[in-house]
Symmetry: C2
Subunit: 363 residues, 2 copies
Amino acid sequence: MGTQAWLRLDFPPHSYEYGVGEGVLASLGPKLSQLVRSTGAVVVADETVAALPVAVAVEASLEGVGFVPTRIVVPPGESSKSLATAERVWDRFAQAGLGADGVVVAVGGGVVGDLAGFCAATWMRGVALVHVPTTLLAMCDSSVGGKTAIDLPCGKNLVGAFHQPRLVVAEINALDSLPDREYRSGFAEIVKCALLLSRAELARLRAAAPRMRLGERADLLAAIDLAVRVKAEHVRDDVLDRNDRRALLNLGHTVAHAIETESGYVAYLHGEAVAVGLVVAARVAEARGLCAADLVAELEQTLAAFGLVSALPGGLAPRSVVDRTRMDKKRRGTRRRMVLPHARGGAGVYDVQDAELLAALTA
Amino acid sequence: MGTQAWLRLDFPPHSYEYGVGEGVLASLGPKLSQLVRSTGAVVVADETVAALPVAVAVEASLEGVGFVPTRIVVPPGESSKSLATAERVWDRFAQAGLGADGVVVAVGGGVVGDLAGFCAATWMRGVALVHVPTTLLAMCDSSVGGKTAIDLPCGKNLVGAFHQPRLVVAEINALDSLPDREYRSGFAEIVKCALLLSRAELARLRAAAPRMRLGERADLLAAIDLAVRVKAEHVRDDVLDRNDRRALLNLGHTVAHAIETESGYVAYLHGEAVAVGLVVAARVAEARGLCAADLVAELEQTLAAFGLVSALPGGLAPRSVVDRTRMDKKRRGTRRRMVLPHARGGAGVYDVQDAELLAALTA
């Protein structure tokens, strides 16, 4: 694999290219100019990313082919995924004269992708969207699949839309600017994707971990490529999240969301919570005989290779995490449904009782 | 034609039934229970409609098959198509425990249909929507085609989504509660649809006008049926409003929107503005030789039969209306594009110059 890879993601009736690698940003403008007629574009970024070279490179690539981009900067952090920020973004769309044939370029992590994606999905009932993910998590997860959302005071992601991007450009060099803790936490979703594929993929990923922690490009590119393929494959069969196919991507997330909610979304990064959730799911699967007895240990070693801890964070009561998982969106009535890994790779959705979840959380 | 008609509207991948007639509301619950699994439902209406028998009939029909509807009441008027009202509606969705498998039933005119439709389109990335239009305009126009929207301070319908309903139930008896002026104005869209079909349809509609003004059910049912079929046929080929097919439904609307904007949306009902716009479009077409010389007179007579005036309202300067039409969404760059009627029925989209539009406005 070279220093760039371009995948075509097909979610009928939508189809778009996903580019990842070093210097892929140079292709943003030329590719986009083939996709949209207008020269109207807005670039949405948070204050942190707006100050980085990646924001300049995005605008230069757009201007190079005749786009006249307007920059819209929002405050960093989850609090920007709000209706108040969305309203400010829409107002800026209007000021910029963004028409129905214009394009919104979201540059940043999951927050900006979700916010700008939702604003694009609803502006004049939907304008073209391009994702330029700058975090490992956004490259592997939120920029693929078309989910956009904002939070309400009463819950995360309650208001949103499915809106597939027209193009995704993941510039690996942007990862150099990430704080180490955020960088490492992004690997939890990649570990999840490898686990969904096979034990062999998990082993390969673990072997490459030391090189990736140092930013080795070829390994990183292969890992992102793997995660995007796994996600795309699951999304393709269930674009609107209506059956259990896309739900398999929720492996590790029932417990992860409970940890995030219980800890007020501040103490743990999403990937750190997912790491714990993956191990808990594997423990439940192991107790049921769904997977081999040594999967838990192998998973813990893989996560540790990325500096990710798999024990329930101190200060969180296992009982309250168990209670919180009942609110999971996969629930059916009062039944808790969790994704559990299988022996030969892959996973399934199962009803899980309080007692077995509690046992896995306190193991 | 009996006292009820059920049409199937196909907008692939979406397909739904549209029922119109006397007593169709009794079918709402039974039909809906075939479409959704959940018993969670919210009914959105404005204060005026919430006090009418139609609101009670909707809830009775839902409760009769086991739904447990929560009523959400918003203030009447266009000002409710706002982000602030949408936020209150979403909060009520959360309080009502509306899940991804729940249903939103919008009972009212275009404002409530657009508002509740947008809230449904974006709640958990899209939940089932049912329209129960209670105005003639909503029955013929806004409940068909899947457009939902709210207004921003800087413009109408700027934020929205395409979201097809699962079912539309148009209870003709609800029209008895409409103020006469609003009832009459609803016929402008029906006149437009007849004009898009043929001169013969226009003549038939004119002949039936006196009976319809008295609320004659069979004629009303036929007129609504005609308008819905014409709208559905144009939407089908252009669901996302991307080519000129759906644009033909904009016949009369370039000037109508300019009149509404120039008069601050208070002096003229939408249908009253459309009546003027239809005649102006016919005058431009006549001057170009696109349609017969007597179409304008026939159109004026038809509109008059519904008590609709076709002259530009006093107090509005023709020049300012001409200027305002340049903001129309069909524009391409600086070119004003208008829908003009053809001699044999149907219409086309044409570039129209200031001078010819001004001449038509002052004729």
